[in-house]
């Protein structure tokens, strides 16, 4: 058994812990615990008042039992009693117990707050710290109500000890996070900012954290902090080791404080004052310079500390996005890290470069590292590093390298982790559309996506390719030909059948001249997949069939036979049955002119913000996703993209359905069952973008 410190002994506790550790089974442990609980319960209830030491010991045992994972439903009162002891060791255990086993009993809360109040007012720094730590750890509303106004006073008072200031600053931070409305900052702002000048770097560290959080909510109130932060940072970065002895860590001067100051500065744009701005620039240059100097120690702690400051400095440089030289230097530094021995650094470099890529000053510099990043994609063994590489390729993609990057991403997709496939699919789809000069490449890319990772190609992606094909005359023939060929594969993904079915339905006529892709061949090809597909796909195929009847009268009979078959007309699925019935009827009664009008080629889709981009943004949450901006090739060749975030699922298929059966007034997306009222009353409403014909029966 290791030596227990001489101060407070608590031999009984050590023995108990030993007993527990020696238990051979879970049952034995529970037995021993219950024995102890009974013992403690009786001691607490006993006639003899317990002395402080015993109380402390038992409360500590209870805490240990709780931390093992067992429920404790008594002891709170005794713990609260310990708070009023004037012995540190007893107070400490009392505070620890109530911080870990937070109780919402209002009487207890009142007593606890009372004890805290006494300790805060005690002028004993050790007791004050215990109280402050407790408030910071528990952070309850009741505590906020009781103490939120007291703590700032303690923080800025001249006679408060340094260690108490540290605790007060962070305590205030906690209260501000949990009950911001109760923390009055107004009158204290100036003096809190002034703490940045404190001699004690621990106080400065704590104050910087507090100010950073407050500045995020109300930046204007804390603007004065900027110059103090720059000055402080500058002094640290240019100091000799000897100046900051206590705060030098493996030959790096105050690394954590430097990081925090740099973080604080990221709440603001570059300083307006020219002198201040140049001082900050000098500072950042010094940090970048140090990264190039030979290391003062071989230990990884030294390099980690140094690089922590470096990465945060680069973060600030990127955030300001105003000094081209700094940005380029940062990029070069990161470029070096891309090939570092340590995985941590390669990971962080990839991540950091991603944000650099979107700055106009450094975009070109980032591109020079493309080969290295592609290599990382192929060789890194940690999947999260590979993912950062994908993110970076996506960020650095532009017209000059889009083909190569998309090709690399597709090739990576073949072996990528399932958890990241959907994201990669979305990214490839966005890039392919954004940088397509030649839309045949775009069509090929999407079909490849479906082939490689069909399961992860969401609706937004394949709707998009259809929208684009419909909107661009020049690629329709190519699309028809390509999907036709792709469908020949013995096993093709259902999404391919959907895309193929739709495109052939609209543009199959463009390839019908060739005997290899004659109407009958096309129909048989589609129909061969029919029974393998899910209901929504089959519904889409049925729509394609009626379009074929319009396009290719010669296959009308064959298709009608299929529609007429029992498996369609009596299909258990209501949607399929309805479509089969109606399409069959339509094909029988409508003259060729009517049919041609009803089944006219889809008009171009109106411009909207890409739903793919919206989906990617939703997936990535706060991550920086480049927008499809006005440099994007417009589908219709006119105007700008409208930015409305309308995410309409099933838009493509619904439009087809609406054309045929608008009489039912079902304009909702999705495959809803609509009341059939016979083909007599078609098109009672006008829907924009469509022409209508009234059918008389």
């Amino acid at each position: 058994m290791p030596a227990v410190s001489k101060g407070d002994g608590m031999r009984g506790l050590a023995v108990f812990i030993s007993d527990i550790r020696n238990c051979k089974s879970k049952e034995a442990e529970i037995k021993r615990i219950n024995k102890e609980l009974a013992n403690i319960r009786s001691k607490f209830k006993g006639d003899k008042a317990l002395d402080g030491y015993s109380k402390k010991k038992y409360v500590c045992k209870l805490l240990f039992i709780f931390l093992l994972g067992h429920d404790i439903d008594f002891g709170h009162m005794e713990a609260v009693n310990l708070l009023s002891s004037n012995k540190y060791t007893e107070k400490q255990i009392g505070y620890l117990f109530i911080s870990v086993l937070v109780n919402s009993n209002s009487d207890l809360i009142r007593l606890i707050n009372n004890a805290i109040k006494n300790d805060l007012g005690s002028r004993n720094p050790t007791f004050m710290n215990l109280a402050l730590h407790c408030i910071a750890n528990v952070g309850s509303r009741e505590m906020a109500e009781a103490f939120a106004s007291e703590i700032p006073r303690i923080l800025v008072a001249g006679d408060t000890m340094d260690s108490v200031k540290q605790s007060a600053a962070l305590c205030l931070l906690r209260l501000n996070r949990t009950s911001p409305d109760l923390v009055p900052m107004g009158e204290w702002t100036a003096r809190v900012v002034h703490l940045l000048n404190d001699q004690h770097l621990g106080v400065v560290t704590a104050a910087t954290s507090l100010i950073t959080t407050l500045a995020q909510k109300s930046p204007d109130d804390f603007k004065t902090a900027i110059s103090l932060a720059v000055t402080r940072l500058s002094r640290i970065v240019t100091s000799a080791c000897i100046d900051l002895q206590d705060y030098t860590y493996y030959f790096v001067a105050a690394p954590w404080l430097s990081v925090k100051l740099l973080r604080l500065l990221q709440c603001y744009p570059p300083p307006e004052d020219a002198a201040l701005r140049s001082r900050l620039t000098e500072c950042l240059e010094t940090i970048l310079n140090k990264a190039q100097e030979p290391p003062k120690s071989k230990k990884v702690q030294h390099s980690n500390a140094k690089n922590a400051v470096l990465f945060e400095a680069i973060s600030l440089i990127i955030h300001h996005d105003s000094e081209p030289t700094l940005l380029v230097r940062a990029c070069n530094q990161l470029g070096q890290f891309l090939q570092h021995r340590e995985t941590n650094l390669r990971y962080l470099a990839l991540e950091s470069m991603c944000t650099l890529a979107s700055s106009e000053f450094s975009h070109e510099a980032v591109k020079t590292h493309m080969e290295t990043v592609i290599n990382a994609l192929k060789t890194e063994r940690d999947v999260s590093v590979r993912q950062r590489a994908v993110d970076l390729l996506y960020a650095m993609c532009d017209r000059s390298n889009s083909k190569q990057i998309v090709a690399e991403m597709l090739s990576y997709l073949e072996t990528a982790d399932y958890s990241i496939r959907e994201e990669i699919v979305l990214k490839v789809a966005i890039l392919a559309e954004k940088y397509a000069v030649d839309y045949t490449w775009y069509v090929d890319t999407i079909l490849n996506l479906i082939r490689i990772a069909g399961d992860y190609v969401s609706e937004e992606v394949w709707y998009r390719v259809i929208q684009i094909v419909i909107n661009r005359d020049d690629v329709q023939g190519y699309a028809a030909k390509t999907v036709f060929e792709a469908l020949q594969a013995p096993a093709c993904h259902e999404n391919l059948v959907k895309v193929g079915g739709y495109i052939l339905g609209e543009f199959g006529n463009l390839i019908a001249g060739d005997s290899r892709s004659s109407p009958l061949v096309q129909f048989n090809l589609l129909h061969s997949k029919f029974h393998l597909c899910s209901v929504p796909t089959r519904a889409l195929l049925l729509s394609a069939y009626i379009k074929f009847i319009n396009l290719f009268p010669e296959v009308k009979g064959t298709i009608q036979d299929v529609l007429r078959s029992d498996s369609q007309l009596r299909n258990a699925d209501v949607e399929l049955q309805q479509r089969a019935v109606e399409y069959l009827r339509l094909s029988c009664i409508a003259s060729t002119d009517i049919l041609a009008t009803v089944l006219e080629e889809m008009p171009p889709f109106p411009e909207r913000e890409s739903s793919i981009l919206a989906k990617l943004k939703k997936k990535k949450g706060s991550m920086n996703v480049p927008d499809i901006d006005d440099s994007k090739k417009n589908m219709n060749g006119n105007g700008n993209v409208e930015h409305n975030n309308n995410n309409e699922p099933n838009e493509v298929t619904t439009k087809v359905y609406v054309r045929i059966t608008a009489k039912q007034n079902c304009f909702e997306p999705g495959f809803k069952h609509c009341q059939s009222r016979g083909l007599a009353h078609i098109f009672s409403k006008i829907v924009p973008g469509f022409t209508y014909v009234k059918l008389k029966c």
Partner: protein, 137 residues
């Protein structure tokens, strides 16, 4: 959080509100995520909307869960700083020291971390404070 390889939590400090069941679940998830990683992985893992910075010292994993915007290397060294203090305070600390003196470890944590932020980084100052507290009754 300090986790044993077998999943026993030696110490867990929470800076956000969770109830006991949530805490248990989180601990299990962190354990699952962290223990499958080896030397070829980074010391950072994405975890829900946060990230975990961790390092293994003999049989113990030391993990800190931070915001995605926090500085990875700073917290990695924050862990190491903490471990060096424990080492100094307990004289070549071993896991048993942390078990038997669990209530003291919380004191060390609170000296160096508070309200989810770094409170004090000078080992000299922290140890001086701890020794002073140790001398109190």
């Amino acid at each position: 959080m300090k986790l044993d390889i077998s999943g026993k939590t030696r110490l867990a400090k929470w800076y956000m509100q969770f109830d006991d069941d949530e805490k248990q679940k989180l601990i299990e998830e962190v354990h699952a995520v962290v223990t499958v990683r080896d030397a070829k992985h980074t010391n950072f893992v994405e975890f829900r909307n946060f990230k975990i910075i961790y390092r293994r010292y003999a049989g113990l994993y030391f993990c800190i869960c931070v915001d995605v915007t926090d500085n990875n290397l700073a917290y990695l060294e924050g862990i190491h700083n903490f471990v060096e203090v424990l080492n100094e305070y307990f004289h070549n600390v071993c896991e048993l020291d942390l078990v038997f003196n669990f209530y003291k470890v919380y004191t060390v944590v609170d000296e160096m971390f508070l309200a989810g932020e770094i409170r004090e980084t000078s080992q000299t100052k922290v140890l001086k404070q701890l020794l002073m507290l140790q001398s109190l009754e």
